[in-house]
Every structure is written in C-alpha cells, then in structure tokens.
C-alpha cells in the first residue's frame, strides 16, 4: 500500500562523473601538472550543476554568469592547493558558494541563511493525540499530472517558493529541483547534513500547504 521511496537525484540532472569515464581525481592530477585540456574537461563536467548553484544562491542569471567565471578561475588558481581530501565537486561548490555570498553581501542582500532566525513556516496540524487534524480532504496528487502545464499553477508554485526564507528555498531548489546531494548542499552552504534535511523537509511541508490551497484542499 505504501508509496515506494524514490531515489534522491533525478537521473537527468546528474551528469558529472559517468561510469567508464576518467574519474575527476585523475583529471585533477593532470590539471595540476599543467594539462589545460584536463581542466577544460572538469569545467565541462561541472559547469551545469555549478550554474544551478550560482543561480539558486543569487537568484539572477547575470550574477550566476559572473559567479561561474569567478569560481572556475579561482578553482584553476587554487588547484595546486587541492589535496583531494574532499570530492572535487564539493571543493568547487564551496568556491562558487563563497563567490555568490560575497556578491550578495556587496549588494547588501545577504541571505538570512546565516542569521538562523526562527521561522513560522506553515505545515500540517495535528490533534493533541498526534493525528492529522484536519485530515487532508482530497488527494490532489491525482490532478497534479494533468495540471503540470497550467499557467495558474505555475504562478502558484513561483509564489509559494518565493515565499520561503532564502536558505530554505535554496536548499529545496538545489535538492529537489537540481538534484544535488545533501552532502554537496551542506558543503556549499556551510550547513550540517541534518540542518539540510530539516530545512528541506520544512520547505516541502510549507510548499505542500500552499499547493493544497491552490488545489482547493
């Protein structure tokens, strides 16, 4: 009866290291020895996820472009210091995240990620006995598929996601839309993995409430 668990990352958005490919570590070693083609290969592998990270953190296409340039150039310059203790991708994400944060600070639009303020995010309610109360009235997931292309639903999604606090939104987008792993997100945003999981879950609960309202739950 139970829904089967679905695996974390949607396959179509994970295009980094493919089976049978030269592993990142080897390319890093070559790039460290001055092989620019190996570095170019690393760029090709990671640019898309790095773009998404930059886009989600800055919220702007133009900023994402500059963050990406800065991050890859920075990575190239710091490459001799990369010791391979972390995954190359995590190391790269951290560099890009720092660049995005610096950009946000310059714009005085630091995300509330670092302030850790308590938040009133909507979620389900429970009776004193711990049962869902009110119980969900309708299973609108049945209608979700047909509504995929609906413009009003699209607007409702945009608004619901925009209404999340910055760090909740970033975690949610990176994980559920872009398919980064909890560990990658934790590394990039300087959070613990449990903090990533908790923000993700609370963001999903809040979004579920909003979409439920849209579907007239």
């Amino acid at each position: 009866m139970a829904d089967t668990p679905t695996r974390t990352a949607p396959a179509e958005v994970r295009e980094q290291e493919q089976p049978g490919q030269v592993p990142d570590v080897e390319l890093v070693r070559k790039a460290q020895a001055g092989d620019a083609a190996a570095f170019a290969e690393l760029v090709g592998r990671h640019q898309r996820q790095l773009y998404r990270l930059a886009l989600r953190m800055t919220g702007s296409e133009a900023d994402a472009q500059e963050v990406l340039q800065e991050a890859f150039l920075n990575a190239y310059q710091k490459l001799p210091n990369f010791r391979g203790e972390a995954q190359f991708s995590s190391w790269l994400y951290r560099i890009a995240a720092n660049s995005a944060l610096m950009r946000l600070r310059r714009k005085r639009r630091a995300p509330d990620a670092l302030t850790d303020q308590p938040l009133e995010l909507q979620g389900p309610r429970f009776s004193a006995e711990g049962y869902l109360d009110p119980a969900p009235l309708s299973d609108w997931s049945q209608r979700a598929d047909e509504k995929m292309m609906d413009r009003e639903l699209g607007t409702a999604i945009d608004q619901a996601v925009a209404g999340l606090p910055d760090d909740y939104r970033t975690v949610f987008l990176l994980k559920d839309v872009d398919g980064l792993s909890n560990e990658e997100i934790a590394g990039a945003l300087d959070l613990t993995v449990p903090a990533v999981k908790s923000r993700l879950h609370r963001a999903r609960l809040a979004l579920r409430e909003k979409l439920g309202e849209f579907f007239g739950e």
Partner: protein, 93 residues
C-alpha cells in the same frame, strides 16, 4: 513486520528521509505499517511527493548555451593553454 508508528505526527516527521530513501529499513517499515492503517497519511504522502514533482517540473533550469560559450571564452582568455573541448569532448548532450 515492525510495529506501526502510532502517530501521524511521527509519520510526517520521517517523511522527508522516507521518500529520499535514507530512512533505516526498520523505521521505513514502521512508517509503512502506519500508512496501511491511515488513509489520511497516504494522501499526505502522495501530495508531499506531488509537491516535489510539480516544483521540479516548473523550476528546472538548464544552463543557457550563450552562458556556456561566454564561460568558455572567458576561460580561454584567462587560463593559459585553455581550449574548449571539441565535439565529443567532456559533455553529453
């Protein structure tokens, strides 16, 4: 079969890890046992998953082609010896 979780609140609390597949098997079993007894939670799980699917569909972004070429041009200018990988290089699709 594990004892079912007693409360919907516990079920909802574990849902994130459950649908990500990271819940330890015995906790997942206890959650599923609760679901088999609790239609409201089944609806909750379905709409929780639908939320994710809808958002992914609406908000997924591909890196624009212009951005790829401007990045390549930037790196070619700033990294000695850098050359854009030719066709059949690093990238799929």
């Amino acid at each position: 079969m594990a004892n079912p979780l007693e409360h919907c609140a516990d079920c909802v609390e574990l849902l994130g890890e459950y649908i990500d597949g990271s819940l330890p098997p015995e906790r997942a079993e206890a959650l599923e046992a609760h679901l088999s007894l609790c239609p409201p939670c089944i609806t909750f799980v379905r709409t929780y998953k639908a939320t994710r699917a809808l958002c992914r569909h609406k908000l997924a972004r591909e890196m624009p082609a212009e951005l790829k070429s401007s990045l390549q041009a930037f790196l070619a200018k700033n990294v000695p010896g850098y050359r854009t990988p030719g066709d059949g290089g690093g990238e799929k699709n």
